[in-house]
C-alpha cells in the first residue's frame, strides 16, 4: 500500500497538530511549521541541545521546516509565482512567504530561464554535498539552519525518512494508552451515573517470516468484565470520542479479569486465528531449506573425507557454520508484537 501526497499530508498535519506545533503557512502542497519543543525533541535529533536547555533552563529555540508534499507541483507553482515577483524585485523582502521561498528555490536549482550559466565546462558546482565533510564521509546530514527566516525545505513523500520518523515518533508517544469514552455534556446533568466497561485493547503485528515475509495487523480488544473479545476493536474506537480524563458521573464496572489474564486470552484467541491460516508458504520454505541443506551436506561429505585431522576440523567448522546460516535464512517462523496497547473504558451497552 502506498500513500498519495494528500494522505501523507493528512498524516503529517495530524502529527503536527497533536504535538501543538505552530503552523506558519499552509497549502494543499506544503506546510511551513515551527515545531513545538515536544516535536523538536522527537524529530530534529539534537539531544545535546535539549540537554543544554534542560540544565540551564534557557528558553528553547525550536526549528522550523517547510514540508513539501508534492515537490513537482510545488516547484511548478513556485516558479510561476516567482516570475512576476522577480520583475518587481521582491526577492529582497525579508518576510518569509511562499514568494520569497520560491524565488530562492528555482535559482538554487538552476531551473530559472535566466539563471545559472548554461553548463560551461569549468563551472564550479554549487552542490551542497560538495563540502569537506561530505568528501570525507560521503554524505553529511544537513545541519539545522537557525535564525529568523532560516527555514529548511524538505520533501516529505511516502518512503521518505522524515515520514518514517514521524510515524516512529507517533508510535513512541502513543503506544501506551488509558482512555475514557466521552459521555457528552448531558451525562453530567443526569441523576444516575453511567456504567463503564474496561477493555484491554492491543494492536498486534503478526510477522510471518522465512526467506521472505508477510505481515498482518490485528487490533483486538477484550472486555475485562465479561471476557468478550472484539475483533475489529480499532474501528470501534475510531467511531468514539475518547478523552484521557475520567469523566464526571460515571462508574467503572469491576474487573473480572486481570490485565495479564486478558492478555493471555487475547493471545490464545490470536493463536487460534493464526492456526486457521494457510501455511503453504512455510511448507515451501521448508522444502527450499531441505534442498539447500542436502546440497550443503553432499558437498561437505566429500570434503570431510580429508585425512588430515587439523584440516578436517576446519572443514567441519565451516560445514556447521554453513548449515546454521542456511537454517537462519529459510526457517519459517511467526512473531507477534504489539504496536499500541492500552486500557479503554467504554460505556456499557
Amino acid at each position: 500500500m502506498t500513500l498519495t501526497a494528500q494522505e501523507v499530508r493528512k498524516h503529517v498535519m495530524e502529527y503536527l497538530e497533536a504535538t501543538d506545533c505552530t503552523i506558519i503557512e499552509v497549502s494543499p502542497l506544503h506546510v511551513t511549521v515551527k515545531l513545538s519543543p515536544r516535536a523538536d525533541r522527537m524529530l530534529t535529533d539534537r539531544p545535546y541541545y535539549w540537554g543544554f536547555v534542560e540544565r540551564t533552563g534557557a528558553a528553547p529555540e525550536t526549528l522550523s521546516f517547510t514540508f513539501v508534499f508534492d515537490p513537482e507541483q510545488y516547484d511548478h507553482a513556485a516558479a510561476q509565482a516567482a516570475a512576476p515577483a522577480r520583475t518587481r524585485s521582491a526577492v529582497n523582502q525579508p518576510q518569509v512567504s511562499l514568494n520569497a521561498e520560491a524565488a530562492a528555490e528555482p535559482a538554487a536549482a538552476g531551473t530559472a530561464p535566466d539563471g545559472a550559466p548554461a553548463g560551461g565546462p569549468p563551472g564550479v558546482s554549487a552542490d551542497p554535498q560538495d563540502s569537506i565533510l561530505a568528501r570525507y564521509f560521503g554524505v553529511v546530514p544537513a545541519l539545522p539552519r537557525l535564525g529568523p527566516g532560516m527555514i529548511r525545505r524538505e520533501d516529505v513523500i511516502y518512503g521518505s525518512k522524515r515520514l518514517n520518523q514521524i510515524w516512529a515518533a507517533a508510535r513512541d508517544e502513543g503506544k501506551c494508552l488509558q482512555l475514557f469514552e466521552d459521555p457528552g455534556s448531558r451525562q453530567r446533568m443526569t441523576l444516575f451515573s453511567a456504567a463503564y466497561e474496561p477493555w484491554l485493547g492491543v494492536c498486534y503485528k503478526v510477522e510471518m517470516t522465512c526467506d521472505l515475509k508477510r505481515e498482518e495487523l490485528h487490533f483486538l480488544g477484550i472486555s475485562l468484565t465479561t471476557g468478550k473479545i472484539a475483533t475489529d476493536f480499532g474501528s470501534r474506537l475510531d467511531r468514539l470520542e475518547l478523552t484521557p480524563r475520567l469523566p464526571e458521573n460515571i462508574h467503572i464496572q469491576p474487573y473480572d479479569l486481570s490485565v495479564s489474564g486478558g492478555a493471555d486470552r487475547l493471545e490464545s484467541y490470536l493463536t487460534g486465528q493464526l492456526a486457521g491460516m494457510d501455511y503453504s508458504w512455510a511448507e515451501q520454505a521448508r522444502e527450499r531449506l531441505k534442498l539447500e541443506l542436502s546440497i550443503v551436506d553432499l558437498y561437505y561429505a566429500e570434503l570431510l573425507k580429508e585425512p588430515d585431522e587439523e584440516k578436517k576440523q576446519a572443514i567441519e567448522e565451516q560445514y556447521n557454520a554453513r548449515r546454521t546460516e542456511t537454517a537462519w535464512q529459510y526457517e519459517p517462523q511467526v512473531a507477534v508484537s504489539a504496536v499500541t496497547y492500552g486500557l479503554f473504558h467504554l460505556r456499557s451497552s
Binding site: F137, K175, K213, R214, E215, Y255
Partner: protein, 581 residues
C-alpha cells in the same frame, strides 16, 4: 485503580491451545509496560499519535510474500525494467543469494540497492556489511543515501562498525583488528562489489569472506568468467557451496580445458540459479550513441626516426634471443610506448640499460636511441589533443597507458593554461576521491592511466580521448564504460589518436574495423573474446605477430587473418543471440 480479579469467569470452552505448524513467539514487553504505568498512574500516550502510529504501520505493511515493495518507497529514482527484474529474481527465485554480473554500465549498484531496500522495507535485514574497493566507498555511501534513502555509513574508525549499515573497503575489513570484530558478528546481508577479487580460494580475501556469517549475500562483478572456469567455481562456492557440486564433479561435468566449458547448456542452466547477467543491447535499455572519431596523425621526421629506430632494435633483439616471447615483454612495451610519448620510451630505455652488463654490445645501440630521443622536440599527439580539447570546450577524459605520458601531458596542458587533474591506480582512496571531485567541479580535463579505469563513474563527461590504445579489447571497453553508462545524457564521442605508419594504426584498424568495438553497443564482446582466446590470449597473439613480422606486408596480412577470425566470431555470436531470444 484497584483491580479485583475473580477467577470465576467461565473458561472459554476448554479449548486446547491450537498447534501451529510453525514456531510462534509473542513479544510481551508491552504488558509489563502497561502494568507498570497502571501502578504509577501514567504517563499515558496520546490518542491521536496512537492512531497515527497504527495508520503508519498499516501503510507500511508487507501484505504479500511475492511482490516488490521497495519501488513505493523510492522517489526520484525510476529503476529500469531489467533492474527490477533482477531484484525480483534475486528475492523470489534465489532467496537473496546471488552473483550480479551485468555488463559494465548497466547499473549493478542500483540492482543491489533495490534488493537491499526491499529487504530493509520487509524488516528482514537490519545489519548490513558492504565491502567494496577503497576508491568506491564514498560513492556507495552517497548513492545509497541519495537514491535509496538508506542511511549507510562509511567506515572510518573502529566505532563505525557499530552502525547498522556500513560501507568499508575489503582490504581494511580483512585486516586485524577489524577482522576479528567482523567475524564475531552476524550480518543479515553482505554485499561485495568487484567480487572478481575473490576468485582465488587461497587468498586472504576469499577466506575472510567465507568465514563471515551472513544470511543474504550479493556478489557484484562485471567480469565473472574472464578467463577461468575454476575461478567461477570458486566464486559460486563462496556464495552457495555445493551448487555446482564438488570441484571434482565440476571438472568432470563441465570442464574440457581451463578456458573451455563442456555441456554448456547444462552449465548455463546451473549458473542461472545463482547468477544474473544482463547485457547491453538486450531489453529496452536505451543507451546514448557512441560516436567514434579516428584522428590520423603524421609524425614529425624526428619522431618517425625514433619510431623506426626503436622498431628495428626491438625486432633485432627478438631475432637474437631466438624467439623467446616471455622475456620480450619489456621490448613489446618499448614498441608500444614509442607510439605514446618520448618520455615513456625514455624511462623504459634507461631502466633496460641499467640492467645490462657494462660490456654488453647492445648498450651502444640503446645509447644511440637515447640520443635520438633527445632530438625529438615536439609531441604531435599532445599538440593534436590540445587542439581537440580547445575546440570541444567541454569536459574530457584522456586515457593513456603510461605514467610517464600522464606526467608529460599534465605538464604540457598546464603550461598551456588548461585545468587538468591526474587519476591513477596508485593513488590512495582520499586522493582519488579528491581528483574526482576536482574533475567534476573545476578541472576541464582528467588524465587517467589504465589502472584508474575501474570503478570510476563519469557520466557528467561525454568526451574521451584514447591517447594510446590498450591491445586488450576488454580494457578498451572498460575505458569507454567509465563514460558511456546509464545516466549518460549525451552521445559519447570517442577520439582515437593514431599515428600513421606505426603499429598503432594497425591495432586501431583491427579493433575498429574488424570487431567494430567502439560502436558495439550490442555487447557480446566478452563472448567473442572468450571463443577467440581458447588457445591464446589476443594480446599475446598480437605481440607475437608484431615481433615476428619481417615486413610491413607480412604484419598486415597476419593482422588481417586475426581480424577475419574475430569478425567471423562476432557474426556467429550475433546470429546466436538472435536465435535464442
Amino acid at each position: 485503580m484497584t483491580q479485583l480479579s475473580r477467577n470465576s469467569l467461565p473458561q472459554v470452552e476448554g479449548q486446547a491451545a491450537p498447534l501451529l505448524p510453525v514456531p510462534l513467539s509473542f513479544e510481551r514487553n508491552w504488558l509489563q509496560d502497561l502494568e507498570s504505568r497502571l501502578e504509577k498512574g501514567g504517563p499515558w500516550g496520546d490518542w491521536k499519535c496512537s492512531r497515527l502510529a497504527v495508520q503508519g504501520e498499516q501503510s507500511g505493511l508487507v501484505t504479500s510474500f511475492d511482490e516488490l515493495q521497495c519501488t513505493k518507497h523510492l522517489s526520484g529514482l525510476s529503476p529500469l525494467p531489467h533492474q527490477l527484474d533482477t531484484a525480483h529474481k534475486v528475492l523470489f527465485e534465489m532467496s537473496g543469494r546471488a552473483i550480479l554480473a551485468d555488463e559494465v554500465g548497466l547499473g549493478k549498484t542500483i540492482e543491489a540497492g533495490l534488493i537491499l531496500k526491499e529487504y530493509l522495507v520487509r524488516g528482514l535485514v537490519g545489519k548490513v556489511l558492504i565491502l567494496v574497493p577503497a576508491s568506491l566507498v564514498l560513492q556507495w555511501v552517497r548513492e545509497l543515501n541519495a537514491k535509496f534513502g538508506i542511511t549507510a555509513v562509511a567506515q572510518k574508525k573502529a566505532y563505525s562498525w557499530g552502525n547498522d549499515i556500513v560501507v568499508a573497503s575489503l582490504d581494511t575489513a580483512k585486516r586485524d583488528p577489524h577482522k576479528e570484530l567482523l567475524l564475531s558478528s552476524e550480518y543479515d546481508m553482505l554485499i561485495i562489489d568487484e567480487a572478481h577479487k575473490l576468485k582465488n580460494k587461497k587468498s586472504t580475501n576469499y577466506q575472510f569472506v567465507q568465514q563471515l556469517r551472513k544470511k543474504y549475500c550479493l556478489l557484484l562483478t562485471a567480469t565473472p568468467v574472464q578467463n577461468d572456469l575454476g575461478e567461477l567455481f570458486n566464486l559460486i562456492t563462496l556464495l552457495k557451496p555445493g551448487q555446482l557440486g564438488n570441484q571434482g564433479d565440476f571438472a568432470a561435468n563441465f570442464v574440457v580445458d581451463k578456458r573451455q566449458p563442456k555441456n554448456e547448456v547444462q552449465l548455463r542452466g546451473e549458473l542461472s540459479k545463482v547468477m544474473i547477467r544482463n547485457r547491453r543491447g538486450e531489453g529496452p535499455v536505451n543507451f546514448t550513441k557512441r560516436k567514434v572519431r579516428n584522428i590520423p596523425l603524421i609524425l614529425s621526421p624526428e619522431e618517425k626516426a625514433l619510431y623506426d629506430g626503436v622498431t628495428a632494435f626491438v625486432k633485432d633483439t627478438y631475432q637474437e634471443s631466438g624467439g623467446n616471447l616471455s622475456s620480450m615483454l619489456s621490448l613489446v612495451t618499448l614498441q608500444r610506448e614509442v607510439c605514446s610519448s618520448r618520455d615513456a620510451v625514455f624511462i623504459t630505455l634507461v631502466n633496460l640499460i641499467k640492467k645490462l652488463p657494462a660490456d654488453s654490445p647492445k648498450r651502444d645501440r640503446m645509447m644511440e636511441l637515447l640520443q635520438s630521443i633527445r632530438t625529438v622536440k615536439t609531441n604531435t599527439k599532445a599538440e593534436k589533443t590540445m587542439e581537440l580539447i580547445r575546440d570541444m570546450n567541454e569536459k574530457v577524459i584522456v586515457f593513456t597507458e603510461y605514467r610517464a605520458t600522464q606526467e608529460y601531458l599534465l605538464q604540457y596542458f598546464r603550461d598551456h593554461g588548461l585545468q587538468c587533474v591526474p587519476y591513477s591506480g596508485g593513488m590512495n582512496r582520499g586522493k582519488k576521491d579528491w581528483m574526482m571531485d576536482l574533475f567534476r567541479g573545476r578541472a576541464q580535463v582528467m588524465i587517467a592511466t589504465e589502472a584508474g579505469g575501474e570503478g570510476i563513474n563519469l557520466q557528467f563527461c561525454h568526451h574521451m580521448i584514447n591517447f594510446d590504445l590498450p591491445w586488450n579489447p576488454m580494457r578498451v571497453e572498460q575505458r569507454i564504460g567509465r563514460v558511456h553508462r546509464l545516466g549518460q545524457q549525451n552521445d559519447v564521442v570517442i577520439y582515437n589518436l593514431s599515428t600513421q605508419g606505426t603499429i598503432e594504426e594497425h591495432i586501431l584498424h583491427l579493433l575498429h574495423e574488424k570487431i567494430n568495438m567502439f560502436e558495439m553497443v550490442i555487447g557480446g564482446l566478452d563472448v567473442i573474446l572468450e571463443r577467440f582466446e581458447q588457445k591464446e590470449s589476443l594480446e599475446k597473439s598480437l605481440y607475437k605477430i608484431m615481433l615476428e613480422a619481417r615486413s610491413d606486408e607480412e604484419l598486415r596480412s597476419s593482422l588481417d587473418h586475426i581480424g577475419e577470425s574475430l569478425s567471423g566470431l562476432s557474426q556467429e555470436a550475433r546470429k546466436e543471440s538472435r536465435a535464442t531470444p
